[in-house]
Symmetry: C2
Subunit: 712 residues, 2 copies
């Protein structure tokens, strides 16, 4: 109702603008002007004279026009004859889409993106293409208001969020690289005494290690020299600092996004949408119980509290069941590998001696190729299950479950659906990730609890290859995991749009925060990826995809809650990753319990003894043709005595280190949660400038109200 | 502006009202009618016709009238001559109070509380006295709206909160009593095998324990039979359950208070006060920098961000320094006792043999009375410091610090002051409490780390007496700690009112939640105390104290944040109390690591051995005139060998139990925080009925606005 341009907008962030005088990072203001700022109000045709209308053609933005058309389409009847019949709703484009009468409905693009309009003026699509989607602009800010004008609030908010996330990754990357460099620089110093001892002739050269698999040979500790140095790059004292830093980073990410969102929400007038939002047509059609809305005093379809609660309970239990199945599949594949390996690797003992030669040869063949056979079959099973579960089952089950919840509005529907889909994906991806994470650390630095079943299998991996593979998987996950999903035919459904784009970034956020203690370079790779991804996404939206239906949203919906959940979880996972997979705690315990107070002798101290006469093969009792009576393995166990029923008794050092690990977890978590809690409390949710603006608008509105009241 | 009675109010909580059809717990509705409900709006003399005014005398409540008078008084000039001089503010009652021209300013009570008015109608004070302050009403609801009408929002809100807290204590008391009863009932069963073994002739009767102090005798484990049973009442498996339950209880307390507050805030129209609130006169007088308020576009005194930040940093560091001093004093007294005890108790060795007889006798005297001397001097020091710090220093320092922060409004001032005072009191009371808590558990069930310096001192207490004393202190703290403060002459200052009343209850809340694992009956005693306290407070306010100045508030201010902080801390403290002071973890470890899977033999397992030939006195090497070579003490240590430099080496069991304790802390905290987090998320902050009412009011206002707009 009020139409004065609010000049104060330009004050917002003036401090930063002064810093960025260079304008290097700004988009080209000659082609795309700065965002015009007006006081916005709901349009009403009766009060047309109150609005600034320069041109009736362009008064509504393209996004708004497509929204208006869509509203009209959803309310247009298509069967003149059925109109009189009671109870039959023959209205709306959605119904026709569901009936497959039409295969899709979407707004058209403004014009060609690869040439200017005939009058030489570029259309919005062309402008976005040259100034935003082009990869040459990778270092520039995004023209968010133009994106919003063209694609609507939802897509605009997505790119605002992605840009913000990418910018926030810069400090994390810098600190991560510094931590990695700290490892590189100090690899030869006293910080890394254990590596020096491993590479040393007198310690590493004289320590004969136990065989790593059923048929393997004894080996020299010195052989793992290079690998122990490589491990140090990722697992050094700076890692603890970095994990704490990332807890802070994640909290500030959430807090600053709240502020950023408050600014966007004020500039784009996103608030109050959810209150105004109308029920979904499906909800109106499906729900047959009515009530008088206590607010508007009109009748409306309504689900009673108990009916809703019952639905929620059933749906939640189904979701948990499914999550359980998903987790079970992931664990199942691990177990399958374990069982296969152990079956194929079991050393032939005396009981099979009487089998025929032929079967023996076949067994030999399987044993020789056990690794390949197991890997290939497991990979195939994995692939089938992932493709099947992921592309077919998850989506359909989530849709079905969400439908049977009868969410009232589109926002509720999307939040509920998003949350379910994310849970499925989360279990799927992170269980693999944590598995890898455990494996790399275990095999390099941790303590394989005993040279028993699990450990033999774990260490059987050709370590370097496994790491390479894992690393590649990791990168592929970060950069390309979503590409396979984009072939999905549901792209017109906005719900999938939001899901596909946010979920890639949010899962990446999870990788960056949850296991950052295991790989400090993760934020840097995520940054590289996102810089590319923004422009790649933009290119796709502008040139390759149908133009999506513009939609109004209030915020990023369920994703904020998910990000919050990940942030809390990250503190816990990082505490455990450092405590249990890194070598830091055992080293510290050793350092502060021995007399000389240094790490010297740590390696010898961390090894346990095993008598070689328990092995079946002769090569396992000799090293370089010298018979050895004992071999070493990592862990804190008593040397087994003859006729011992329980061979691997932990020593007091084992319990001491366990206690120290748990103490570290407790201290780390309390510290991180307390400090981030204080930080979250200290950073106001709404920037001062915006809260002042909002108050001012309220005051003006109140004054206008008083004046109109007095004028009566 | 709208004046229709909102009939829907009665629907609020209709469910509960149906349950309470008995009306037993309601106040007497014949004497005090139910709260009348109107749509409230800021009064404006121009629009008098819009308000329902039955009687101009009673249109404003007594509280509002006293507020109006106070506003007038604070703005009345008292020096006619000075009025023309620029820069001299000779206005306001506050200035006169500060100058001691007047000694106090407060509203008068309505009339006598002990007889009806001359016309037979009771005045509000009399009504409150008979229907609320009388102890016979202890089981009834409080007539909150009448309290508010008489005393104003602030006092009304306090009693609403206290009543709510008391009601919430009922379930906690019931569960606490059940847990205690579980202990009483199962004291003779298999749950308490350790006690049975202690009382047993073959185990407890044959175990000779090491002396508990420098000059004490050897003793029999059986002697502690009764005490071990008593301990079991408070430290049994139900305690863990109760600690988890209390974590939930505390979270629901906060969440339900939010809902309750939403109801009260809506019924009493408390919102929006802080936005309207005017700066304190002191702020206006002290701050000389001005700015144009960006909202109202008028000039106002203003502290720049950096100036405020600087003040905050300085004040916070001073507060931390003071907290440090307070904590240091508490620890200091403990250290003083320790040093005194050890000095006086040191057994005479050969080097003092050559001293004179006289000095020897004197030393003997001191040694014999060491306990009394130490206790008395420590108590005196403690008393002096507490009285001095508490009644003089804290208050003045907090006032001074808050003043130098220049808070803008009265609400900000009170929040800041409250927070500081609470921190001081918190450190003071809880450090003592946790000390006691540690002591009682230690002496009864925990492991005195080694029979060394600290332990000897700890166990030197005559246990039963110490516990009696501690228990009495505890009860006194709960029930009467604030009485000494009420003699303070500042009662007219509302800030002290709020502080004194809330802080007693909040510190009690702390006792109820923080150390509940140590004493499950705490909620019950708190409940008893609060039932008395409500009526006692009421009696004081009605009959003994000056009537306080009515004040508007929006909520309970800084106290909510403090309660939240206590609730989070409680999860952590309870985890540690259970893990470190209770016997549960060592018992569980024993139960699941031995072969037979029961607690049999636990007592013997938890004792360590010490050779008696290391003691100086002959009575410490003989028990009942039989020489014994070894004695036992609680703990997991190796038996010291001859010429051992480090006599008390922990065994692997020690580390195993430490690891189990920390694992318990981790599991307990993660579980409690995750579940309470989900609960806090699931319970909406505003009850449905109220949010509907608020929306409805908004809608009506919007419609009225549209209509008035159209009418133009």
């Amino acid at each position: 109702m009020v139409d004065k341009p609010t000049g104060e907008t330009t004050e917002v962030g003036s401090f930063w603008k002064n810093l960025h005088r260079l304008k290097l990072f700004d988009y080209n203001h000659e082609r795309i002007p700065a965002e015009p700022s007006f006081f916005l109000a709901s349009f009403s045709r009766q009060k047309e004279e109150c609005f600034i209308i320069k041109d009736r053609e362009t008064f509504f933005t393209p996004a708004q026009r497509s929204q208006i058309v869509w509203k009209i389409l959803t309310r247009t009847g298509f069967d003149e004859k059925a109109r009189d019949k009671p109870g039959v709703h023959q209205t709306g484009i959605r119904r026709l889409l569901n009936d497959k009468t039409f295969s899709a409905a979407f707004p058209l693009h403004d014009g060609p993106y690869d040439e200017d309009d005939f009058n030489g003026e570029p259309n919005d699509r062309r402008l976005l293409y040259t100034e935003w989607a082009h990869f040459g602009n990778w270092y520039k800010k995004q023209p968010l208001w133009l994106i919003r004008r063209y694609f609507g609030d939802k897509v605009g908010l997505y790119f605002a969020w992605l840009g913000f996330y990418t910018a926030m990754l810069i400090p994390a990357s810098v600190v991560g690289i510094l931590c990695f460099l700290f490892g590189v620089v100090t690899v030869g110093t006293d910080y890394n005494t254990p590596s020096r001892e491993i590479c040393n002739e007198t310690v590493g050269g004289k320590t004969i290690m136990c065989p790593l698999c059923g048929k393997c040979d004894l080996w020299q500790l010195q052989d793992s020299c290079t690998f122990s140095k490589l491990t140090y790059f990722f697992d050094n004292p700076a890692t603890v600092f970095f994990a704490i830093f990332m807890a802070f980073w994640a909290t500030s990410f959430l807090e600053f996004w709240k502020r950023k969102h408050a600014v966007i929400s004020w500039e784009w007038d996103l608030h109050n949408y959810e209150v105004e939002e109308e029920p979904r047509p499906e909800f109106e059609a499906a729900v047959t119980t009515f009530r008088i809305n206590p607010v508007t005093q009109t009748a409306e379809p309504y689900l009673s509290f108990w009916s809703k609660a019952l639905r929620m309970v059933i749906v939640s239990s189904l979701v948990f069941l499914l999550l359980f199945i998903v987790a079970f599949v992931v664990v199942g594949i691990i177990i399958y590998r374990l069982v296969m390996m152990s079956l194929l690797y079991t050393p032939r003992d005396s009981t099979v001696q009487d089998k025929t030669e032929a079967s023996d040869t076949r067994i030999e063949f399987f044993q020789d190729n056990a690794k390949i056979i197991t890997s290939v079959t497991a990979a195939i099973i994995n692939l089938v299950i992932v493709v099947f579960l992921h592309n077919r089952v998850y989506y359909n089950v989530a849709i079905w479950l969400t439908n049977s919840e009868y969410p009232r509005t589109q926002t509720e529907y999307e939040d509920s659906f998003t949350f379910k889909m994310f849970l499925f994906q989360f279990i799927n991806y992170y269980s693999k990730m944590s598995n890898w994470c455990r494996r790399i650390k275990y095999s390099s630095a941790g303590d394989p609890d005993a040279p028993g079943f699990l450990t033999r299998w774990e260490q059987d991996y050709n370590l370097k290859k496994a790491d390479q593979l894992a690393f590649e998987t990791y990168l592929r996950l970060i950069t390309h995991f979503y590409t396979c999903e984009q072939s999905d035919g549901h792209l017109w459904a906005s719900i999938m749009l939001a899901l596909i784009f946010y979920s890639a970034a949010v899962i990446q956020y999870g990788f960056v925060t949850l296991f950052v203690a295991a790989f400090p370079l993760a934020p840097f790779f995520a940054l590289l990826n996102n810089v590319v991804e923004i422009r790649l996404d933009a290119y796709k939206w502008i040139t390759q995809l149908r133009r999506p239906l513009a939609e109004r949203v209030e915020d990023i919906g369920a994703w904020y809650g998910i990000l919050q959940g990940i942030t809390y979880t990250a503190v816990v996972t990082n505490a455990f990753v450092i405590a249990y997979t890194s070598d830091i705690i055992p080293r510290l315990v050793y350092k502060y319990t021995n007399e000389h107070g240094t790490l010297e002798g740590y390696i010898k101290n961390s090894l346990s003894v095993y008598p070689t006469n328990r092995y079946n093969y002769t090569n396992q009792q000799k090293f370089k043709d010298n018979a050895t009576e004992i071999c070493y393995y990592r862990g804190y166990y008593e040397q087994p005595k003859d006729n011992d029923t329980a061979p691997f008794q932990p020593t007091y050092k084992y319990y001491h280190i366990q206690a120290a690990r748990l103490a570290f977890v407790a201290v780390f978590e309390h510290l991180a949660f307390a400090l981030t809690g204080v930080m979250a409390f200290a950073i106001p949710d709404v920037p001062r400038e915006i809260s002042v603006q909002i108050q001012r608008e309220k005051l003006l509105a109140t004054e206008a109200l008083y004046e109109s009241d007095l004028a009566r």
